[in-house]
Symmetry: C2
Subunit: 277 residues, 2 copies
């Protein structure tokens, strides 16, 4: 029996989501035991409870030697507010754990990867159950935690990889959460940002990743782009090519990550297979 502890470092999920995920897991992955921390359902303003409550739940899940993985319930915004404190208080119980999530939880994945703690993995979260086709996304994460490699992003190749939401990565750059991504293929995706904001993010992120000497950039999905008062005039892939060229980064094509049910699994670091014990 593999025990998965679930907490919400940013924003809360509903009991309905937790029940649907639990039901799917018990039906299809009898080897997995899902333990939703009560904090997943806490609410304070924007967040799943105050900072100290989210921090305590994360530490409880991460430091428990009886759990194999910490699965982040949902992104949104807020994991940056507890990431440094969490990392400082992680003990030996966290050392070999998988930490799975994406979007705002990239703050934690980044910090963990920087410190060499556990195995940070970009992939679907319980909240994805609400999406169209969301059961497939959740099933992919459960299968991966159950030992299957089927859900891995297909372009994970010879170089080490990392995957981020573009805005999250932009906010991590230069902070004490930023890992050394030298030699890495970096995959980025975005949701619900105007095209001009995506261009600005790519300007910033490629400038800094060029300094970090990454191996190349891949662009994931860019979804739910709001209408602006006028058309921007170019599409996200053109922008990514433009900024990669300007800053001397190889643009390696697309990546199958994003805020959709098609979001694939990207274990940070060396590629598929070798990441599993």
């Amino acid at each position: 029996m593999t025990r998965i502890a679930i907490c919400a470092p940013a924003t809360p999920i509903s009991h309905t989501v937790a029940e649907a995920v639990t039901e799917l897991a018990s039906r299809e992955f009898p080897d997995l035991e899902l333990a939703f921390h009560e904090q997943c359902f806490a609410e304070q303003g924007h967040f799943a409870g105050p900072d100290h409550v989210r921090l305590a739940a994360l530490l409880e899940c991460a430091n428990d030697p009886g759990t194999a993985a910490v699965w982040f319930a949902k992104g949104g915004y807020g994991s940056n507010r507890i990431a440094r404190e969490a990392i400082a208080e992680l003990g030996t119980g966290a050392a070999d754990k998988t930490f799975l999530g994406y979007s705002d939880c990239g703050f934690l994945l980044a910090g963990l990867y920087r410190e060499g703690i556990g195995r940070p993995v970009h992939g679907p979260m319980p909240v994805d159950m609400r999406r169209e086709g969301g059961e497939d996304a959740v099933r992919r994460a459960l299968a991966w935690m159950s030992g299957s490699d089927d859900g891995l992003e297909p372009e994970i190749a010879s170089a080490p990889v990392a995957a981020f939401n573009l805005m999250t990565l932009s906010s991590i750059l230069g902070t004490s959460l930023m890992p050394d991504l030298g030699g890495h293929v970096v995959m980025v995706e975005e949701v619900a940002e105007h095209l001009y904001a995506i261009d600005r993010l790519l300007f910033h992120v490629t400038a800094r990743l060029a300094d970090a000497r990454i191996a190349g950039l891949r662009l994931g999905q860019v979804t739910n782009v709001p209408e602006n008062d006028r058309p921007f005039g170019s599409e996200p892939e053109e922008m990514a090519r433009f900024w990669c060229e300007r800053h001397g980064i190889p643009f390696l094509g697309r990546a199958e990550i994003g805020h959709s049910a098609a979001n694939m699994i990207v274990p940070f670091g060396v590629a598929a297979g070798s990441t599993r014990s």
Copy 2:
């Protein structure tokens, strides 16, 4: 006669705006000659013409020894795409010029300040004519270029200062446009961003400005905040205090800058008076 050259490094203005500003200037500031570059009205997708057209107009205005100031017509997004090239090609004609604008034009102000070229100044732009009370904002900029200190931000004090839109500053951090702001009082303002995004920006910006050893932060106006699906739970000033405290930066209170007609003038560097020749 003081000649002011106006170009649009980001997005275009209308002829109506230019005419209204010209009329105000000729009525109240007969010592000023406003020269709107034709590029101010160019359009290509989001931008006031393609990058090379915006760059050429900026260089033409900035390198002309017959003009005393370059006034940026409007922000929006796009000056980052030409800032490095522009700075590389500025000659002696730009050395003593005032460069006046704000918002997205902060990319240019930052880069100019970094390189010690001219006198970068945060202040109202021609496009502000469209705002409620916008005539006052434009009048403030014209008066300043005409030699009056009346429009200076009142808290400009003994330390050197710089003023930025928060998102713009976040995108500048760590890039080749970032000036050394050590010992500076940094003023930030924001418009049309969700409160969670403002908290995220403050996280990022204060982390980096703490490393840069700034003297303190002042918060300008935060306007047009979109409604989120739930209340965030704290207001911008609380957030600024929180992140300043977390990152060891003195929070010095509010600043009279922002995306409104009340946006005051902040010459970068040493304080009022000494900045004028």
